[in-house]
Symmetry: D2
Subunit: 382 residues, 4 copies
């Protein structure tokens, strides 16, 4: 069994929970789950045992009721789990929601203690972090991190940064756990956190789940690189109507996202082709199904100029939720193997910004074969 | 040195010749040549020593003059090579051109003798076949092939099928040669020809150079397959204004093309998603820069429906010409290594319909790594 | 009241019936009905009184049951109408359906009598023809038409051509009726039929309901023409999965469609820019929601080259069904005004191939204002 | 003859000058000039007599040399005109250029006097304003405007606002002139300026030349409105590499642009469909040929959901330059007819934000017919 605690019960977490139950009940196949049911840890073994949020409309409500906000066909089997109060540390700032958090009631150190104590009761194997995108600053040293918590510096920390710290404490006490960071906050790319994880029996996967246009862009750029075509420019727009896009209209948050997405161009092409790659706007009726548009111009043989345009409508949350079904199982496997710290072979396929920091993006098609091999599966085409 | 004889001095062969010379003179970089100058055989070592065609406007003319029909900036260095008369066997039927060929003047056996004798003078290492797309029927047995030639059955054979036969004879006599079949006629996928090649010290690479929308479609389908998304349907159109598209408006020829392109869907997805993939029409002003449009619809996690649309303007001939710069060098390497017959590791990346017959399509991004390894280069990302 | 008889109870007719009832019940607004409820004849006044088909699975069944094949939410209010047997005259040839028709049981003259006699009972004001696309040959003279029927020449006539003949007979007897020809068979563009209509108190609107990519292409070409941009080429593909697309894979039928769609380029630009505009293929999973792709290249000021690409997913049948809600009302108005023959001001907006024959395509945006004025409404922007 | 003075010798003005001369010399046809040579005032009658700029690299240089920066084939016939020093009032702020202007050397009142005195020498009939997009605030009253100048309030005024003031003064003195405002600064939409123009024998056309994606969006929205389709949302991106896009990365300027472009949705649909329409970014290699992408989602009949996507590569400056060839001639005609103030029938077709302020956007296809009629030409399709 893989016991999962979810941090941030929004669109992604709800589709994750809902789809997981439908697979278990045989209502849905394994579509959208990259490794389907090939892993030794089965999809049917995954169980959600706890969920945290900071939206005052969700905290204290039954998980089933919250799922129904995002999926009209949510399964009733998830009745009985009550959404617990997490920490927000300003993460809902500028959003049209009222935030409530442990941090409103106690110091950060006390909040960490409280979370660890709740988790020792819930006994999760894996944490899945799908909080709202945050404006964050990475840590430079362990000391800086420890001080921020002990001195209750609320402006220095984001919710994610606190959750990982608490998870590390928990993992150390219980002997092992995994933390899947599916949002842009740098964790698997922050050496302070990776080192903390390694010392604390914690596995961290991250950062920023590889969904949407970016992995596709990665494979198209790889396609061009392999033909030695010279990319003149890349423009990639995307616009959506879910809370993630709303949050990105907040300038500071957007900046972290931007940082994440841009390195793929240089990593894959070997030179920094001029590019404009960022979430572009918020348009409510698009809801969770974003519109993407991408334009790539390149030079082919004998100086010829070619152009490719990709557009699409892509459901944002299911794409990430499907990856999470793999990631929680891979997390459990990594804990069992005691591969604490972070695991590049997993991150390279599943993350937009695969940690550790010095690691590069590689074509996703190749990364897929690597993660299969890491997991003990036969490569598909190699 | 790699001595090259070109069969079919049309758009592709002309851009190949023109671009090659411009690279040699330093006027152009290696853009569009997948392996750039990494191979032990250098781009600068490639030399065109002969060229054949059957268009009455080209036979007997200087190569430079013909290049200028396709590339206003063709380099003068190719003056002095005279286009020789090849065989047509009806390959220009229904096209607005007057065909002249050795087959108008002599029997097929005599034509084979003539070609072999000319080649023994030109001493090519590699033949590059870029004839007009033909309506062909593969051979069932060596006997059937031998009979078709000895009994002068002109309706049974295409120009390509005759050229390969002659090339095998030549290779046997001189000790080794390579034949790059860049058009759809099945050669590397016809076991009669592969066996003939193996016995005759001939390397055949084929079939149908992997340019245009198809390799990109292959990588996008692989991208979806690796995320276990269920592809509902694939539509791919393309329309152009060069002679290749004009030829495809001829129904019979189109049929061979169609056969070639469709297997990728099943090979890469593992199931035969409904698809419509074929060259769609001829529109003269588009010239060599075709317009492509592709629509893919698939199911993601939790039953979500996504859609991707790719459109583009792509120069057809330079894309293939750039591949040829690698293929002639790889052909020479295969001859030197005496790997006669066909080489899947080369075909898998460079060909739409990679031989041998029983071989499947794999993601091009992975095929690229395989060909690098075959050629003794370090893989780029593995 | 407007009493309507439907000829061909397929996708379009079913969505028409279903949507109409939903508007009446207040379940839906007037979306997709160009003139909404502005006409003196109200949407609520339209009533379907009879329906004909030749699919053996439909004839004799209740309309409600047939609607449910196309619209899961079909309203029950249409229970009670039984699908009657029409004529097929080979119109289902090559389709995976068993055809049954009056023409299997009697001569064409007898079939005409039978239809007229049934209609005198049903008393329709307007016929709506949405049969499957047919391979047809227009008539050169009234005599040729009369002979074809009296001599029972089944190969000379299509179902539509017979239906209009019968409708004219009916209109003459009852004093007036209208026939809306929403398929490509030339009726409003065949002067034999227009003259017959005029003499028989019949209004014909036609031909080929203006849905899908073509009216949009028309307005985009008009947009370019008005800026005096020189269009170099136009490519327009579309692919779908409904029976209309399946029928078009039959070569002969496709030819009629092709003829229809191409004249807009010359009509709107004033010169015949090279173009490729035709339905491209059949891909079943697309169902009624076709995929369109269009590419236009033009010269702007100072010799600059621009390109526009339009792609889309468009529900085919609802688009036409919405137009029919206007057309049956306009048909009734034309009968009341005794404007027998055909009415260009109506056809120009609603039809791909607006009759009479000598009439040209104009920008749809302008045609819309004209039909408003014809109907006695204020123009919207003029 | 139409004597023209250009304000802002950038990309647009240079292509305007260059293309105009090429038409005169017979090298180019009238492509991209909406009314071609149908007007009583001929294209051949237009003459550029003066040009102003504030880029230190241009002021004092020969026009021909500046044209060559933008058009390698610029005609030599424009040698001899020297670029004069205009006013900048901060309009190049944040751009990588050094600005020099009359405002650096004298008060605003003196600058107005200087301009008027130079113009009385050059004797222009029409001014064409194609300055860099400015961050502006409209004027509330004549008094506020007069004070800003007399009290030398440089922060209150933009270059355009000063130029129009000077042009009005000039027009009053010489008996009539026209001012074509092709940039977003509100002039024809600012009643203070329209009234000033009317009193001063000045015609103003404006505001913001209707090029790029917006007029096309207008016609596509009109197309949907006329079919009563309910638009759910509209997203429109565009990205380019010319100075106009660079200027728009400056937030304040972008705000004015945004204001301009958004009203079309409500004007044409009759309701304010949620939309995101703004210039999205700067990507240098795209140069003057911007990439546009537009997504529209709407409800058709019976509740069906359709989607349209438009993408394109469009040369920005030639599109506007072609309109200017009409506008200067229409300006002269308006002066001759003494239609001082602003002319909606001209603005409605040529301007993104057609003045006067209370006027609305109408479909461009209809606006075109209106301007033809205003100019005394036969409508094309009405």
């Amino acid at each position: 069994m893989v016991r999962v605690v979810v941090l941030g019960q929004g669109y992604v977490a709800s589709i994750f929970a809902s789809g997981l139950e439908k697979i278990k009940s045989g209502e849905l196949g394994y579509y959208g789950v990259p490794l389907a049911n090939e892993l030794p840890v089965k999809v049917e073994d995954v169980e959600i045992v706890g969920s945290y949020d900071v939206d005052s409309n969700k905290v204290g409500r039954d998980l089933y009721e919250v799922l129904r906000l995002y999926d009209r066909n949510a399964p009733e089997s998830l009745r009985g789990i009550v959404i617990r109060k997490g920490v927000h540390l300003g993460s809902l700032r500028n959003l049209p929601l009222k935030a409530v958090g442990l941090d409103d009631e106690m110091t950060l150190s006390e909040a960490v203690e409280r979370l660890v104590s709740e988790w020792k009761e819930l006994r999760p194997d894996v944490f899945v972090n799908v909080c709202t995108t945050e404006a964050f600053v990475p840590f430079e040293s362990r000391e800086e991190l420890e001080n921020a918590i002990s001195e209750d510096k609320r402006d220095r920390l984001t919710a994610t940064q606190l959750y990982v710290y608490a998870a590390a404490k928990y993992a150390k006490e219980v002997g092992g756990a995994a933390f899947v960071n599916a949002i842009p906050t740098l964790i698997a790319n922050d050496s302070v956190y990776v080192e903390l994880a390694r010392e604390s029996n914690l596995v961290v996967f991250g950062d920023d789940g590889a969904t949407g246009a970016t992995p596709l862009t990665a494979d198209i750029l790889s396609h061009l690189a392999q033909r030695n075509r010279y990319v003149l420019d890349v423009a990639q727009f995307n616009i959506g109507g879910n809370q993630d896009f709303l949050a990105l209209t907040d300038k500071e948050r957007n900046k972290s996202k931007e940082f994440t997405k841009s390195s793929i161009v240089e990593d894959l092409l070997g030179y920094n082709a001029p590019h404009y790659i960022k979430p572009t706007g918020f348009l409510e009726p698009l809801d969770d199904k974003k519109f993407i548009a991408m334009h790539i111009e390149y030079i082919s043989f004998n100086g010829a100029h070619d152009e490719i345009v990709v557009t699409g409508r892509i459901n944002d949350s299911p794409a990430l939720a499907g990856l999470l079904v793999d990631l929680v199982r891979l997390g459990k496997m990594a804990v069992d193997r005691r591969e604490f710290g972070t695991v590049y072979d997993v991150n390279a396929f599943y993350m937009k910004n695969p940690g550790p920091r010095e690691a590069k993006n590689i074509p996703r098609i190749i990364a897929h074969e690597k993660v299969r091999m890491w997991a003990g599966l036969k490569p598909r085409w190699l």
